[in-house]
Amino acid sequence: MKIFNRGYIHSIETLGTLDGPGLRTVVFFQGCPLRCKFCHNVDCVAPRGGSEYTIDELCRRVLKNKEYWGVSGKDGGVTVSGGDPTYQPEFLLAFIRRLHNQNVHIVIDTSLMTSTKVIESILPYVDLWMVSVKHMEEKKHEYLTGFSNKHILANIRHLDTLLDRKPKLRIRYLVIPGITDTLSALQLFSAFVSKLKSIESVELLPYGTYGVHKWIEMYGTYPLSKVNAATQNHVNAVAKALANVPFQLRTGNT
């Protein structure tokens, strides 16, 4: 048996409403190349862990929820998240290819810290790319995630070209008070995003502390313990600073 016939899945959330359109089954893949200090799923980072699934088992599992995805089946679907789902590229490809062929709407939640080969391989099977930009300044990115952002930003531009103006790219930006909401960072972000051609929307997410307990459990400490959670006010202020971005800006305001 080839190794990629089995995937490591941290967990499955069947009432996903925050990671893509409609009601979604969110599959959290195990493993992540980045080491974000604010990670809220730090227990997904290690390459092994969770439960092992075959493609058959995982497809069967998520398809049990297809009745909740609307009459067309497209008002919801499956979101692959993690960790970073591209960390298990062969398993990811086999999984979403199978689902896509069964008319399931697929969202991928990724940092794009992966190879162009992987991006190109899964491209036909993804309906919406949700790519999170952690920070526009290279140094700060390195501080926050352990890696430079060069490769990620290049991948985003490459994906944007591949998508060929089809609005299938949602850029997510985590508002971390004092870290990602500086005017300099936002100006760079605005300039970067505005040049992209295949944007569906830009989504601002408030940084929350709900993943801290996992850090404490696993490491006894939390690296961003001095940073406060973002409020809606923080998000609104960032939205204001990004007002000239020529795309829909999602802020979670009701």
Partner: protein, 751 residues
């Protein structure tokens, strides 16, 4: 309001003119509505002022437990003179006694219970009333206990069959209150007189009983007519307009709650029916939308004032003083035509005009073909008020046709054609422990256990670990034993209830010949399924105490738990239901009633849990069960949809008395924005009901912190309403133990 001018009856005619056939009237006259809620009117100044008066009284009531009690006057249809909140400002009139929230005694159910209940609130029943109901009248409670066998008493005192309606009114009977406005009592009486004039070829026990009952029904209709004369109305003739239609209908219901104090006195299905009057009067310009809403608001205020006198043990089982004025809304016809009318909206809108409240118990019948605007409005009101429950219309129509309603929480019945003999529930977790302990009672609390309940059973004690096959065999053997005794017990209760505490007014609003259900119930389903799953998939070793019963279970390994859409354990839950129902069907029932089963606990999951020892799934002794058919708190780890899917697998055909499921969501878990939340909730309902054929769902949308705040500052949350198993309750009226249980329940948060 308007001076009365006579409105011509210009309803579409049909067979309903000649025979009593409300369904036909509705079919001919209903105007379905597929628009949105924009047409609704807000509360008038009058409504607000009247509701403020009522709220003031309710606050006093909450402080004192009950506001007032008339100890002198056993309640009947005619016992009390007219009562008003504020006579000149009321549109719909009528109270159970002469004052709002003043309760009455109904000693036909049992005089000792009335005494106990009165004393709990500092009142005393006069000696002459005690003497009358001790020496001269047989009460239902006395009658039942005169016939119970020792074993039946044992099963009751050992909490194996629990909450039986042998010390409170059985309720769960829905009169077709619509017949009164549509036909007037004169015609209804004539129909029954005609029946009594017939000579019967065979006059056996059944026929004699029925003749006697019909006679009592006629008397009740006459009393009802007299009662309304005291209010200055003549309901012997049909209602002439919208206001009279509501008033007549309410009078018919009021007579029922004056005569009876059954646990659930449900109202039925009246939205399309009343809408026929409203639509006609709106068209003719006789009433405006504002006036129609005002009539309904006033009516709903009255429904929120219904009260019964309950004793403390009753409150422990059914917390928060519920009356289950269950009112179903919407649904479709058997030809898939929507029955959603503007009046369906108007009733849901009372949660806005008057604010959230537990009563009436608003129950939306969900189906595939209903208008999207309606579905979204329901979702909106749920998100705003947590006061609505949902039930699967597409599923129930197959069993009850399209003119059915819900009694209590989840009990479907064709209106005026079906009635049920309510039977509370058996504690199956205790039965599983009996199976493991070879028929001996398990230890819990201060009870060391070891008493023999089922003699002659072999202990399962051989070997270190429990074997699934052995336990299953003993368990199903006991299910049969339980079924026999449960059926016998129910037969006694309802034989006596029919004779000594008969619901003559409600049954007068049924067809003379009715279909009867005998509604059994089970509690602790998820505990039983998880325990059996633990025995099957993990390894469970009992620790036996000196009395030879398991006082503790040691588990190694993990097991699939109910609530994760995992067939390995979900199939066990299904098998338990199937076996129990199969056993119940083996025994003959009183008046050839059809046995049905519910998976419903009300708030009794807390009490039942406290009376049950440690179970093999890891639940500790005394810990609460999950409510109804819910997974046990915290064991559903894959999110709400998986939990819904597990419950939706339970077979309705084996649980025709309903499968209750309660879910709490924090608002954020349904989406980031309100439009997203509305869409997602509608989609969740469509998935659960239409896609997965689930039966029932209670929906709460709130923050845990709100409940914590309400515990600390109850005065700031006078109308905070939450759904518990099958009904809604004011959070402040729960015991602190029940409040904790509600807060501890899984809140679907999805981060």
């Amino acid at each position: 309001m308007h001076k009365h001018k006579l409105v011509k009856t210009d309803f579409v005619q049909g067979p309903w003119i000649d025979t009593i056939d409300v369904h036909n009237f509705i079919t001919r006259n209903t105007v379905a509505y597929s628009g949105d809620e924009q047409f609704l009117s807000s509360a008038t100044k009058r409504t607000k002022e009247l509701w403020e008066k009522v709220l003031l009284l309710m606050r006093q009531e909450q402080k004192k437990g009950i506001l007032d009690l008339d100890v002198e006057t056993p309640s009947t249809i005619l016992s009390h003179l007219p009562g008003y909140i504020d006579k000149k400002n009321e549109i719909i009139v009528g109270l159970q006694t002469d004052k709002p929230l003043k309760r009455a005694i109904k000693p036909k159910g049992g005089i000792q219970l009335v005494q106990k209940a009165a004393e709990a609130y500092g009142y005393h029943i006069p000696q002459h009333i005690i003497d009358t109901y001790t020496n001269e009248c047989t009460t239902h409670n006395d009658a039942v206990f005169s016939a119970y066998t020792p074993l039946q008493k044992l099963l009751r005192s050992k909490h194996i069959i629990t909450g039986l309606p042998d010390n409170y009114g059985r309720g769960r009977i829905i009169g077709d209150y619509r017949r009164v406005p549509l036909y007037g009592t004169k015609k209804l009486i004539e129909e029954r007189l005609k029946y009594l004039e017939n000579d019967s070829a065979t006059l056996d026990d059944d026929a004699i009983q029925l003749r006697r009952e019909v006679f009592l029904q006629i008397q009740a209709l006459r009393d009802l007519t007299t009662m309304t004369k005291n209010y200055g109305c003549d309901i012997s003739v049909p209602a002439k307009d919208s206001k009279e239609a509501v008033q007549w209908l309410y009078f018919a219901y009021l007579a029922a709650v004056k005569e009876q104090d059954g646990a659930a006195m449900s109202l039925g299905r009246i939205d399309a029916f009343l809408d026929c009057y409203f639509e006609r009067d709106l068209q003719s310009g006789f009433y405006s939308e504002q006036e129609i809403q005002e009539i309904l608001d006033d009516f709903v205020i009255k429904l929120r004032l219904v009260r019964h006198l309950r004793h403390p043990e009753y409150d422990a089982l059914f917390a928060g003083d519920p009356t289950w004025v269950t009112l179903v809304l919407g649904g479709s016809t058997i030809n898939n035509k929507s029955l959603v009318t503007k009046t369906s909206y108007r009733f849901l809108h009372t949660l806005t005009t008057l604010g959230p409240a537990p009563e009436p118990n608003l129950t939306v019948l969900w189906g595939k073909e209903l208008p999207l605007a309606w579905k979204k409005y329901c979702a909106k009101q749920s998100i705003d008020t947590s006061s609505i429950q949902y039930e699967n219309d597409d599923l129930m129509r197959g069993y009850f046709d399209d003119d059915y309603a819900i009694a209590c929480c989840v009990s479907g019945m064709s209106i005026g054609k079906d009635m049920q003999y309510f039977g509370a529930r058996a504690n199956l977790a205790k039965v599983l422990l009996l199976a493991i302990n070879g028929g001996k009672e398990e230890p819990y609390g201060n009870n060391k256990g070891g008493d023999t309940i089922v003699p002659g059973m072999k202990s399962i004690k051989s070997g270190r670990y429990l074997h699934y096959e052995d336990v299953w065999k003993q368990f199903t053997h006991l299910l049969d034993w339980l079924a026999k005794n449960y059926v016998d017990t129910m037969n006694i209760i309802h034989f006596m209830h029919d004779r000594y505490n008969y619901e003559s007014e409600q049954m007068a609003l049924h067809d003379i010949t009715v279909r009867r259900f005998m509604a059994f119930g089970l509690a602790g389903l998820s505990v039983v399924a998880d325990s059996l799953s633990a025995i099957k998939y993990a390894r469970v070793k009992p620790v036996w105490n000196k009395r030879g019963v398991a006082e503790h279970f040691i588990r190694t390994g993990t097991y699939p738990a109910f609530g994760n859409d995992d067939d390995r354990v979900d199939s066990i839950a299904i098998a338990v239901i199937h076996e129990f129902m199969r056993a119940l069907r083996r025994y003959s029932t009183y008046r050839e009633s059809i046995p049905t089963l519910s998976i419903l606990t009300i708030t009794s999951n807390v009490v039942y849990g406290s009376m049950t020892g440690e179970t093999p799934d890891g639940r500790s002794a005394g810990a609460p069960f999950a409510p109804g058919a819910n997974p046990l708190h915290g064991r559903d780890t894959c999110g709400a949809i998986s939990a819904l899917n597990s419950v939706a697998k339970l077979p309705y055909k084996d649980c025709l008395d309903g499968i209750s499921n309660t879910m709490s969501f924090v608002p954020h878990s349904l989406g980031r924005t309100l439009p997203e939340r509305l869409n997602n909730l509608v989609q969740l309902f469509d998935g659960y009901f239409v896609g997965k054929h689930g039966h029932h769902l209670n929906v709460n949308v709130l923050q845990k912190e709100t409940l914590r705040e309400a515990q600390k500052h109850p005065e700031q949350y006078p109308q905070l309403t939450i759904r518990v198993s099958g009904y809604a309750v004011l959070f402040n009226r729960l015991s602190s133990e029940q409040q904790e249980e509600v807060i501890a329940r899984t809140f679907h948060e999805n981060l």
